[in-house]
């Protein structure tokens, strides 16, 4: 299971980078979205992969029964998802406005500030 998740995370990172290297600006957004997902999945797997084992501490015990999935990374992901949602929404509006201003979705045309 862990190996499978690791491969999936790697594949998503690769897809994200590939999309970001394309010339279309819409694919840039998709790439950024995938990049966020890959990072979130990685944090998720860092907490341990244990199915149907709630991390609840029994009375008198000092830790949940092992193995359990650490809930902290899941809380972190929640924060990160909210942030990336906001940023992505902003990015979409920005791209839409930039598309209107430049008149093309080809990133190679977005060069007026480089010189």
């Amino acid at each position: 299971m862990q190996i499978l998740i690791a491969i999936i995370i790697g594949a998503i990172f690769a897809c994200a980078l590939y999309m970001m290297l394309r010339r279309s600006i819409v694919k840039l957004i998709m790439g950024l979205a995938l990049l966020g997902h890959a990072a979130n999945l990685l944090i998720f797997s860092a907490g341990g992969l244990a199915r149907a084992r709630p991390a609840l501490v029994a009375p008198g015990a000092s830790s949940p029964p092992i193995p359990y999935a650490d809930p902290v990374p899941q809380a972190l992901i929640l924060t990160a998802i909210v942030i990336s949602f906001g940023v992505l929404a902003f990015m979409m509006v920005l791209v839409s406005r930039a598309h209107d201003a430049v008149g093309t979705d080809d990133i190679d045309e977005f060069t007026s500030t480089d010189r």
């Binding site: 902290v72 902003f90 406005r97 060069t111």
Partner: protein
Amino acid sequence: MSTLAVLPVIVPLAAGAISVALWKSLRAQRVIAVVATLLLVVVSLMLVREVSANGIVVMHMGGWPAPLGITFVVDLFGSMMALLASIIGAATALYSLKGIDRRRQSFLYFPLLHVLLMGVCGAFLTGDIFNLYVWFEVLLMSSFVLLALGNERAQLEGAIKYVTLNLMSSALFLTAIGILYGTFGTLDMADLSRRLAATDDRGVVTTLSMLFLVAFGIKSALFPLFFWLPASYHTPPFAVSGIFAGLLTKVGIYAIIRVFTLLFPIDQDFTRPLMLFLAAMTMLSGVLGAVSQQGFRRVLSFLIVSGIGFILLGLALGTRLALAGAVFYIVHDIIVKANLFFTAGLVERIRGTSALGETGLVSVYARAPMVTILFFVAAMSLAGIPPLSGFFAKLTLIRAGLEVEQWAVIGVALVASILTLYATTRIWSEAFWKGPERTQDEPEEIEAAPKTMVLPVAALALLTILIGLFAGPMFALADRAAGQLMDKQGYARAVLGEPGAAPAPKATGHGASGDGDSGHGAAGHEESP
């Protein structure tokens, strides 16, 4: 008084919230902007005094003791950075009154400014690595909007590059945090520092440190990751690029210094040579870019990159003197860079353009000698002419480099300094010196630059001179901050209590005085030059 530790976050938060509530009244927002940023300066100054007198201030959020809850840990370096952020914030607020047009102001410019300051201060004061990520996002989010506010084509194009690169860096940062937590099981930086010191697995540690270096390297515009900066910083209004130039890349380099002093050891065989190389290349490529550019702000943008190289040099050399030099350089660089961008705004008002090398335009010197003198102070300070602040910052760094016999990188630093002088004198001769006293098609009466725009420039120039004149006390402060940065155990003890003891017995309060003045003077401890 440990609540003092969060006040630099609370003040801008409150100011931002009130400004949003009063969004219909621009006049109220302007008053709040100036008052709140000045209040922020006072609060940060109190914090610096408190930390300077009583050592590291620790504040546990919600009373949760350190490794469990989020902690604010304020050491001398962090509090000095917060003070600088608030000074630049106040200068920007004042400058924006006239420097930002009415349309932008009515689209919630001032609340965004407050939120930006909140994010910057939070990043400087937090002691939790995930919390650092959140503050980064807070400041990035408001900086995205500030950059794009106004919807000009250049702004939108610059913003796309800026947003994309910063999001990539955030994703890398998040990934690094995930692996860090998965490996060491904690997010508290003090706790992490102890666990990382105890581990034998150098491979994982070096890999993680490189992830952080790349993530923060993008944010702080290190070679070869700096291309987004000159492509975007010259597009927004001058007030915005002033605060960006002063603060945003410095948050990135602050995070690099924090992470590589507190968490990761600088590996002698791999990390140190790499950092020295990056520092040298950043100094050189920044200044070469500056020399070849034609726009006032584009020259300055490349000089920001070059400045980051000097700061990284201080960290890479690794001695206490070098770190003190890095702290000194950050202080100097924040003030001077923001000031130069503000001056660029004044110049554009006077000449009608900020392009260099155009003929037939009025010379600024003839029209506004005061502005010219203020630019001269900031530019010469940046180039490192005594007795201004930049001279002492560079002198400290170069002396530290000579002590550890890194001749090559010191040579690069000196060449970069000379080229900086060339780049700034080129601006001087093109924009300020050349040109007639007045052009034909102009009326005789020209409106002078507004006082609220000249005042912050003058104040920051005065600060540069003062730092130069009182370089001794300033160096002593930077040296103490560097000592505190090198004293990992002191930081961990202040947050967690003695090793092995129960974690942080008191919910709030002062940690042990982690001044680090004792016994850590591995390198030059002498008084200031």
